[in-house]
Structures are given as structure tokens and as C-alpha cells.
Amino acid sequence: MTETPAALEFVDVAKRYGPVAALAPLRLQVARGETLVLIGPSGCGKTTVLRLALGLEHPDAGSVRVAGVTLGPDNVRALRRHMGYVVQEGGLFPHLTATANISIMARHLGWAPARIAARQAELVSLTRFPGDALARFPSQLSGGQRQRVGLMRALMLDPDLLLLDEPLGALDPLVRAELQEDLGHVFKQVGKSVVLVTHDLAEAAYLADTVVLMRDGRVVQKGRVVDLVRAPAEPFVTRFVAAQNRPAFDDPGRSS
């Protein structure tokens, strides 16, 4: 244990959905300022980690600590304000404009309009979002723009911890490459702790300080991407890496 508590810590957290164990008892730490990428095949439990961190699910055993505070029913809402959450396609509210989506929580907390406008201007330039599109509804934005709005909404309250669930999943390759670059840029600039879920190894390699490869609710290997390639902890790691390098049309394991 360091003196400052970890941004996010899972202490022997177990979670079952009926008969299926989503997380075998799991230990995980995200250091302050670290970008940790959770990677693994579908159903490996990586999304469950994010939902538990946000208190959208409750652990069957163990505890989740955010900045050293154990997450519970009493403090979950307050702690969520120190976390930003971005999901695939942005998870935007379709009945609200981009601006209204971004500022909904700030307005709920009673921020002055000037403060909201100033914060939003910062975010627009940070995420390289076209300012004239702020008045549009989500259905009028492109996929990449929606994702940027989702990112701005997550960053609005300047949270310490950013949680992203396949933020690039639904984008076409060109937009994806561009947004990946911008995400890397944002992560460096804001210096936040980041947990990002993906099943794309290249994306992990580009963004991660640390990669955690998961399978069946447990951690298979934790380290840098290069460690996964050079020093695989078990044969599954090699198979996973090899599958990622194959062209998509030749890849039966990707979407299972």
C-alpha cells in the first residue's frame, strides 16, 4: 500500500449472475494517474468490473474502494460524481441536445451558467468537438461526435477517475483511429486515472500504461502489452494475442 490510496481498488470482489460467475474473487488496483486497460474476450467480466466500480452492481463478496473509500449505498451517489463514465455510442439522452447532455449533472448541482459555459468551452477544445454542433440532438450527430459528447459529459465535473466501456467499439475504422489518438491526447492532458475496457489489443497497446487480460472473471496476466507478447503467463495469452494479429475475416474467436 502506498500512502495515497489507489484511485480504484477491488478487494477480493466476487459477483455471480445466477449460476454464472461473472467475477471470481478479483483483486485489482488502479494507481493514481494510471491508464489501465481491461482486455479479454466477450463475457470475461471486464464490463462487470466497471459496473461494480460505479455501484450499478453490488459485489456478492469483497469490497470496491474508490480513492480509499468503500463503496456502499450511502455514498454511492456522491462517489459517482468523482467518476466519469463513457459507454459505447456515448449513451447520450436522445431528448437532450449535446449541450444539455454535457451539462445535465452540473445543472442539477446548481452551477452558474457562466461556469457551465466556461467548463464546456474547455472540453470542446480538449475533445476537438465542433462548437456549432453543440445545439444538435444526438440523432443529428455522427458516431464520432456522439462519442466526444459522451466523453465531455463524463469529464464535465472534472472527475478523478474515468471509466470507459468500449468507447471506440461502434465506430468505423477511420473515425476510430482519429478518436483513439484524441483519447490518448486527453488522457495525457488531464492526468486522470483511467480504466478502459476493450477487446482490441492494438487499442490497448496505444492507450494503456498497464494492460489486464481477463478470462472467465479472473485476471490472466497484468503488465505491459509487450509483456503479454514476450512473456505470456499461460497459453491462452498467446492464443489471444495471435488471434488479434490475424485479419478479421480469418478470425473466428473475436466475436464469440
Binding site: R77, R80, M83, Y85, G91, H95, L96, F137, R153
Partner: protein, 503 residues
Amino acid sequence: MRMKSGVLLALLALPRTASAADELRVASKSFTESVILGEIAALTASGAGVPAQHRRALGGTRLCWDALLAGQIDVYPDYTGTLTEEILRGAAPAGADVATLRPLLRARGVGLIGPLGFDNTYAIGMRAARAAEKNIRTLSELARHPDLRFGFSNEFMNRRDGWPGLAARYGLPQTAVQGLDHDLAYRGLVDGSLDATDLYQTDAEIRRYDLRVLADDRGFFPRYEAVLVHRLDAEARFAPAFTALQHLTGTIDAATMTGMNADAKLNKMPEAAVAANFVARTTGRSPSPATAGPGAPHDEAAAAMIWRRTREHLALVAVSLLAAIAIALPLGILAARRPRLGQVVLAAVGVVQTIPSLALLVFMIPLLGIGALPATAALFLYSLLPIVRNTHAGLRGVSPSLRDSAQALGLPPLAILWQIELPLALGTILAGIKSAAVINVGTATLGALIGAGGLGQPIFTGIRLDDLPLILEGALPASLLALAVQGVFDLLERVLVPRGLRP
């Protein structure tokens, strides 16, 4: 004019009638003869210096009787046969006369005036040509023609002294027997879709449609002497009126009554005028008119009448719909939040919907009396289901990932409901309110059957009097109102549903 307009007055209408101790409240059943007799009673009372109000065509026997016992009305015309067979079923001997009935009714706090002079027993009638073709003169002869199609008034269908007893006594084998409104049955006879119907001996239609009244050769039908029944406690309060009403005994013979029925139904004379003529003839003076109840004052200009009925109608719809929204929205939200409880709530409002509207209206009378209040309450109950169901469906239809996103932001549940879930469900909720409103406009016409007024009044009066223009005076505005309500909600949807959700 009883009901000006607006929401409040619709609610005030009932207390007004329930506490009207200063007026003699006369009612009549919903057929022309009863309305004329009611009108005569009201005119007679006001001729004796007692203000009288007449609730024309209030409803069927049971409804008038219940209203009388509940103290909603003071007096209404009925028949000895009806009292024996329907009201005192089992307590009075078959074929009881006025003298037999009087003590039995007294025990129930009800007095009896009459007999008024004519016997209007049931009979079975066929078009004369059709009867001749089949060579039918008596009820016994009906048994030889099992293929005949009968259409009977709903009351006749179910009464011991109606179709069940008749079929048993004469061994009638017919199976094509349907219950329908008495006035519609005549139409059926004329267009040939029916062969026989029940009649009253004094029906104007016997002459008009050239009907053959089949002889009751086994003496099945009991006597139906016309009488006035009244609350005993009203007698003391309106003594001069009752003295005058007693003088009506024996003054109306069958020919007089048939003539008055013909004046009203065939010559399209307002019942009030028919009654006024009778009172003027018998007393030799022209009476002061009774207060207009929610019946059908025909002398009113048609446009003014339609406008007044429309306002009454709108008041019924508006009050019941607003109340339903106020209750159904929270219920729908609750049902969406608590799925177990939700099933119970949805089942409960669903059950209410299955109660036939007329039955629901009648159930309301012992609880809320007659007039706008019970009608509003019934419409309120009917409006619940579409709103609860659509609110529930709309909220359940909000994608879980959006709810997660809202929660992950740290928004509290109430803010999520107001800012996210309700706006997303708004289109569905509005559609529910719209269908409740449109159904409500249609169902509100039935309110006329329990004295709530509205556009049903001209419709039912028109059916009773076989007066198509009068029916249209109610039916057309009611249809237009339904369309207008639909239009208003379409507009509302366009204004209220957030732009981002529109296609």
C-alpha cells in the same frame, strides 16, 4: 339552466340536486309515456304552487326506484305490474292491485297515488301483414312458427313476467330472440329484421306501423295500472302538491294516454306541451311550467341546446380525465418501479375496464346518487386503464443503458424520473391519455341515462321519439368533439414531445 359550464359546476351539480328540499323532484323512466306522466305530475305540482323539477327519462325501473329510495327523487310514474314483478318480486302476489301494493310499499317508505286510469300491460305485436300471412291471431299460435324472430326490450327479456314466463306459459320454441331498445324494435319490425316485439297497450306505434296485437288467450300478462310512486316523507313537505296529485287518480284512460303518446311520438309535439294540454283540459287553466331538469326542453333553440349539451359533455370529460391523469400517472410510475405491485395495479384497472359502462353507471347510483357526479366517477374509472398501461409501458420502454448512464452521472432517482424517464416515455403516455380522452367523449353520452346531461341527452331522446334530426343533434357534435379531442392531443404531442425524439 342547471349547469352553466366548467369544471366546478359539474361537481356542484349533484349536491344541488341532492339537497333541493325546496323543489319537488319528479323523475320519469326513459320512454315517452313515462316522460309525459312525469311532466303531468310536475305541472300538477307547480299548478298547486309547489315548485317542481322534472328529471326526464332518468333511466329504467331499477334506476328510478333506487334513486327514489336513495332520496334523489321524490316521485315517478310506474305500473302495478312492474312494482309487483320487479320491485317487490316474491313479496307481492302475482297480479297485485293498488290496494294490495299500498301497504307493502308503505313498509319501504314509499307511497302510491292512483290508479291513474289506464292499464298498460304488455302485449306482443306483429306487423298486420306478416301476421295475416302466417295466420297468427293469438299468442298460442306463435308456437307453430319456431322460425319467427323476436326482438324484445331489455327489460322484457329478463323479467319473470316477460319473455321467460311467456315462453314457458305458451311453450314458445323460438330461439332467434334478442334484447334491444324498445324504440329500435319498431324499426326492426318495419325493415323486416324482426317478426314480433313486446308492446305496451297504449303505444302510439300500434296505429302508426299497423300492428296486430296478439290476443293473450291464456291470460299470461298481469295488470299494469299506471300509478305514481313517491317517498312518504315528501308528502308532508309538499302537502299541496300531493293533494293535487291525488286528484289525478282515474283521470287518464287508455284512449287519452294513447292519444298523448301519439301526439308526442307521431306529431312530434314536445312532451311538455302534450302534458300542458292535458292539464289545461282537466283543470281548465294553463299551468305554470315546471323547472327544466336535465331532460329535454324542446322549446330551446337548437343551437343553444347543442351548445349547452356540448358544455355539459365537456365538463364531464374534462373533470373525469383530469382526475384520471392525476391518479393514473403516479399509479403507472409505481407499476413501472415495482413490477410485482405493477401486475396487481394493471390487473385491477383492467378489471374495471371489463365492467359494461351501463352497469358501472348503475353501480354508482347508490354511492353517489344521480347526475353529473356518478357519471364523472364512472368516466374517471374508465380513463384509468389506458393511462396507467401506457405510463407503465413507456417507462419500461426506456433503455436500461440510458438509465445506467443517468445513474452513473450521480443523478438521484427523482431527477432521473423527471429529466430522463418521463420525457422519454412522454410520447407513449400522451397516446394513452389521448385514447382515454377519445373513449371518454364517446362513453360520456351514456351519462344522459343517469341524469348527467351531455350530448347523450338528445341522442336518447331522439331514439325515444324516433326523431332522427334530434339524434344527430347529439351524435354529430359528439363525433366532432371526439375528432377535436384527437386533434388537440396530436397538437399537444407535437409541442410537448422533445425534438430529439421526433423522427
